[in-house]
Each structure stands twice: as structure tokens, then as C-alpha cells.
């Protein structure tokens, strides 16, 4: 199973991919997840049925994630 994590940034977004069966890739993706959420980014699992759910920890079985900076009132 392959996963993709997209982080919204000024370039449009950056992508991290991992194979759930390759520990090194999973750990690299987890490290990025922890780094960004540690900076206050929100993490969401994107599901095929157009639904999204918030994530508080990295799940190597999530196929698609989006990390984004915090929003605030304008």
C-alpha cells in the first residue's frame, strides 16, 4: 500500500510518498508529519468519497493526507 502526504506551501504543495511495507519510507513520512504538526500544521486524511477527517498522529495506512497551515479569522 502506498501513501501520499501533501503539504500546502508557496510552491503549490510538496509531496511525500511512502510504501507501508518499507519501514524507512514510513519513518521518513512520519518524521515529516511530526515535524509539520509540531509547527502547528493541521493534518487531514482525504478519503475517496470526498470526505476528510482530522488526524492527530501519522497513520502509514492512510492513502492520502493533506497538511496545511493553521487558518485564522480575517
Amino acid at each position: 500500500m502506498h501513501g501520499t502526504m501533501r503539504t500546502l506551501d508557496p510552491s503549490g504543495h510538496s509531496e511525500h510518498h511512502w510504501d507501508a511495507d518499507v519501514p524507512a519510507e514510513v519513518e521518513a513520512a512520519r518524521a515529516h508529519f511530526n515535524l509539520m504538526t509540531g509547527k502547528g500544521y493541521h493534518a487531514f486524511r482525504m478519503r475517496g468519497d470526498q470526505k476528510a477527517e482530522r488526524m492527530s498522529s501519522f497513520d502509514p495506512d492512510a492513502e492520502s493526507m493533506i497538511l496545511m497551515p493553521q487558518l485564522s479569522g480575517g
Binding site: S11, G12, Q50, I66, P69, L71, G73, G74
Partner: protein, 248 residues
């Protein structure tokens, strides 16, 4: 160090770079009166001259302090003649001007310098800088276009067919709140502030919501995607952070 009447305002070239550099700090040496040379800030209206201070002046005001505004050229020349005498009285006192130069000033022979032609090396360097600036600007524009395209593709990837259609045709799409099932119309044809309308059951806008990413400049479609995800996954959280204005 020569004394020249140099004009930045008129686009003239200076030949005395150290003196010009010194202009950035207005001199406070005027009270010395007889034998000081002062310079002036390049931002000042009166800043286009390097000058000897007027005898006895207690202000940072020069004999050549924009004669066209103050003294007139003749008065400036007269003052230069006076300065020349003072120079004789205190040889070496004027650190930035020679007696001969004062004499030339007194006779009106040192006026504004003609523009100095840049050397081929200077021209080549200027051309190189312009080319680099141009390339850099083009690269920035390319990066911005690329980012906008990537963000748009990512947004479209997460839209339903119906949302895609209105997004492409009208620049907005409707998303259903994940908790309340309230419908929101997200506009993409304006900035990310105040671009969300809360709809009633008949589809009329009843309120405007303003909540977006701050402290980072993202392509608009990334902003919109973030808003949509928040409304679907954490509607209450989004409504708590967003400013809400009733429309009707």
C-alpha cells in the same frame, strides 16, 4: 578631494564617490564656520551640492546651498570669493577644496558637471545586472504560475464532478458542512478573505465567513482547498475561528 557641483536630482553623475557616500549622514560641522566642509543628505531638497560652509553660519547652510533657491548664482560666486580669502587666511583649513577650486567657483567656472560617460566595463556591468534582474523576475513569475497550476490541479482532484463544473464555469463551488450539513459557497474569483457564503435551504446567502491561512503566502486554490477541508472535517472549528457577518 575635488569639490564639484553634482546633481543627483538632475540625474548627473558624481565623480567623488567617497563624498557622495558621506552624504547619507548630514554633517553637523557647520558651527565651525570658517573652515568646514559639509555634506548633506541625498534625500534633502538641498542635497545636490558639496559645499564649504558660509562664514559664520550657525546652520548647516552652505554658500552653495541650492543657489537657485536661496542665494542665486552670483551670491554663491561672491561667497566663494570670500571663502577663497578665508582659505588664504587659514591655509589647509578647507579639507575638501583647494584654493584654485574656490577660485574657479568664485568665477562661476565650476558649475554642474556634465554627465560622465560610463566606461564600457560599467556599461557591461549595468547590462549584466539588468539581464539578471530580468531573468530573476521571469523565474519568479514562472514559479508563481507553476504554483498556481499545481494548487489548482490539487483542488480539482478533491472536488466532486458537480463542484468541478461550477468551479470551472462560475469560479465557485458548494460544499456541505461535515457536521451541520449547512451548505457553503466558496468563491475562488476573489481573495481568500470573506470568500465563503453560508447558504440557507433555498440557496440564498445568509452570512459571509472570513477565515483563511495567514502568515504564509499560498496560491489561492490552496487556500480554498484548506477552507473546504476544514468545513468538511471540522466545520465547528472553522466557524469558531472565522469571522461571520450576517448578510440578511
Amino acid at each position: 578631494m575635488p569639490i564639484y557641483w553634482v546633481s543627483l536630482n538632475d540625474g548627473g553623475w558624481w565623480v567623488d564617490a567617497p563624498a557622495v557616500l558621506a552624504w547619507t549622514t548630514p554633517s553637523t560641522s557647520s558651527t565651525a564656520g570658517l573652515n568646514t566642509i559639509t555634506t548633506s543628505s541625498t534625500t534633502s531638497t538641498y542635497s545636490n551640492i558639496i559645499w564649504p560652509i558660509t562664514t559664520g553660519s550657525t546652520m548647516a547652510m552652505s554658500v552653495f546651498d541650492t543657489p537657485r533657491y536661496f542665494l542665486g548664482a552670483q551670491a554663491a560666486q561672491a561667497q566663494a570669493a570670500l571663502q577663497q580669502q578665508l582659505y588664504d587666511a587659514r591655509p589647509g583649513g578647507f579639507v575638501n577644496v583647494t584654493r584654485q577650486q574656490l577660485g574657479q567657483l568664485a568665477q562661476g567656472q565650476l558649475g554642474q558637471l556634465p554627465p560622465q560617460r560610463p566606461s564600457p566595463e560599467q556599461l557591461a556591468a549595468a547590462e549584466r545586472r539588468m539581464r539578471e534582474d530580468h531573468d530573476r523576475a521571469q523565474q519568479v513569475a514562472r514559479n508563481r504560475e507553476s504554483a498556481a497550476r499545481r494548487a489548482r490541479d490539487l483542488l480539482i482532484e478533491h472536488l466532486t464532478p458537480e463542484q468541478r463544473e461550477t468551479f470551472v464555469r462560475h469560479g465557485w463551488f458548494v460544499v456541505e458542512g461535515g457536521q451541520s450539513k449547512t451548505r457553503y459557497r466558496i468563491h475562488t474569483d476573489r481573495g481568500p478573505a470573506g470568500n465563503i457564503h453560508e447558504l440557507d435551504i433555498t440557496g440564498n446567502a445568509v452570512a459571509q465567513l472570513c477565515g483563511h491561512i495567514r502568515h504564509m503566502s499560498l496560491p489561492l486554490c490552496d487556500e480554498v482547498l484548506a477552507q473546504m477541508i476544514m468545513l468538511k472535517a471540522d466545520e465547528e472549528g472553522y466557524r469558531r475561528l472565522a469571522n461571520r457577518s450576517r448578510l440578511r
